[in-house]
C-alpha cells in the first residue's frame, strides 16, 4: 500500500468531514469538490483510470456546479446564524458511529477477504468500451433512458409554476 494512497485517502476523508461539518454551505460544497477529486485520485491510484476521469468529469464538472447553483438559488450562500444541526443530531452521530464501528469490525474480523494482492489488471479504455457495447449494452441503454427521464423530470420539477396572471393575458 503506497504512501500516496494513504495521503490521498487522508485528504479525502478530511475533506469529506469538512464538507459535512462546515457552517457555510459554499465552503461545504468546495470541500465536497476536494473530497471527490480525492476519490478520483484514489481510483487512479487503484489503476481505474477511466473511472477516475469519469468521476472528475461528473462530480467536479457537473454535480458540484449543480450543487453550487442550488445553493445560490435557495439563497443559502451566507453563513447561517441559526443552528445548522437538525434537532436530535446527537442520535444521528451515534448511529453513524455505531455503523462505522460495526463495518470496521466486520472488515477487520472477516475471513472471507482474499489475502494476497493480485497484480494491477491491464484494462484499456478499449476493453471498457467493448464491454459496454457487448456485454453491458442493455444496462447502457437503460442508463441512457434513465438519464433522459431524470433530465426531463428535473426540468419539470424545477420549472417555475406559471403565475395565474399570465393565463389571463391574451394568447399569441
Amino acid at each position: 500500500m503506497s504512501l500516496s494512497f494513504l495521503i490521498i485517502a487522508f485528504v479525502t476523508l478530511f475533506a469529506a468531514a469538512a464538507a459535512m461539518s462546515l457552517r457555510n454551505l459554499v465552503h461545504c460544497s468546495l470541500a465536497f469538490v476536494v473530497a471527490f477529486a480525492g476519490l478520483a485520485a484514489l481510483y487512479l491510484n487503484l489503476d481505474a483510470q477511466f473511472v477516475g476521469f469519469a468521476q472528475i468529469l461528473v462530480y467536479v464538472g457537473a454535480i458540484a456546479i449543480l450543487i453550487v447553483f442550488a445553493i445560490l438559488l435557495t439563497r443559502s450562500g451566507d453563513t447561517p446564524n441559526e443552528a445548522v444541526l437538525a434537532p436530535g443530531w446527537f442520535y444521528g452521530i451515534a448511529v453513524s458511529a455505531v455503523v462505522f464501528t460495526l463495518l470496521g469490525w466486520a472488515v477487520l474480523s472477516s475471513s472471507a477477504l482474499p489475502k494476497e494482492v493480485s497484480s494491477a489488471p491491464q484494462t484499456t479504455v478499449k476493453n471498457i468500451g467493448e464491454a459496454l457495447m457487448n456485454k453491458y449494452v442493455l444496462p447502457l441503454e437503460i442508463i441512457g433512458l434513465l438519464l433522459t427521464a431524470a433530465m426531463i423530470g428535473a426540468v419539470i420539477i424545477a420549472l417555475k409554476e406559471p403565475s395565474k396572471t399570465d393565463h389571463s393575458g391574451r394568447k399569441t
Binding site: M1, F5, A9, T12, L13, A16, A17, M20, S21, C28, F32, L39, L42, V51, V58, Y59, L66, I67, F69, A70, L73, T74, R75, S76, L85, A86, W89, I93, V95, S96, A97, V99, F100, L103, G104, V107, L108, L113, P114, K115, V117, S118, P121, T123, N127, I128, A131, Y136, P139, I143, L146, L147, A149, A150, M151, A154, V155, I157, A158, K160
Partner: protein, 103 residues
C-alpha cells in the same frame, strides 16, 4: 492489515461521515451531499473489490461504478431540482421544517 482492508476501512469511514452528515445537517442540500458521499463510498468498495478481487480482468466492478456514477448524476439532478422546488414552495430548505404532506 492488507491493502484491501485499508481501502475498505477508508470507504467505511467515508460512508459513516456521509451518513452522519445526511442525518445531522438541517439543510436539504447537505443531506443530498451526504448521500452522494455514501454512494461514493460504495463505489470505492466496488473499485477496491475489483482491483484486489479474484478476477480483475472481468470488468464487473468498473462497469458497476460507471453505471452508478451515471445514476448518481441523475439522482443529484433530480434531488437538487426537488430542493429548489421545495424552497420555492416553503420558502425554506431546512429539512426539519418540511414535514407536513399538504402544503
Amino acid at each position: 492489515m492488507t491493502p484491501l482492508q485499508i481501502c475498505l476501512l477508508v470507504s467505511a469511514l467515508l460512508f459513516a461521515i456521509g451518513f452522519a452528515g445526511a442525518v445531522t445537517r438541517r439543510h436539504a442540500i447537505l443531506a443530498l451531499v451526504g448521500i452522494e458521499l455514501m454512494l461514493n463510498a460504495a463505489n470505492l468498495n466496488f473499485i477496491v473489490f475489483w482491483r484486489f478481487g479474484a478476477h480483475p480482468e472481468a470488468l464487473t466492478g468498473v462497469m458497476f461504478v460507471i453505471f452508478s456514477i451515471a445514476i448518481a448524476a441523475a439522482e443529484a439532478a433530480v434531488g437538487l431540482a426537488l430542493v429548489i422546488a421545495i424552497y420555492r414552495h416553503y420558502k425554506t430548505s431546512n429539512l426539519d421544517e418540511v414535514k407536513d404532506l399538504k402544503g
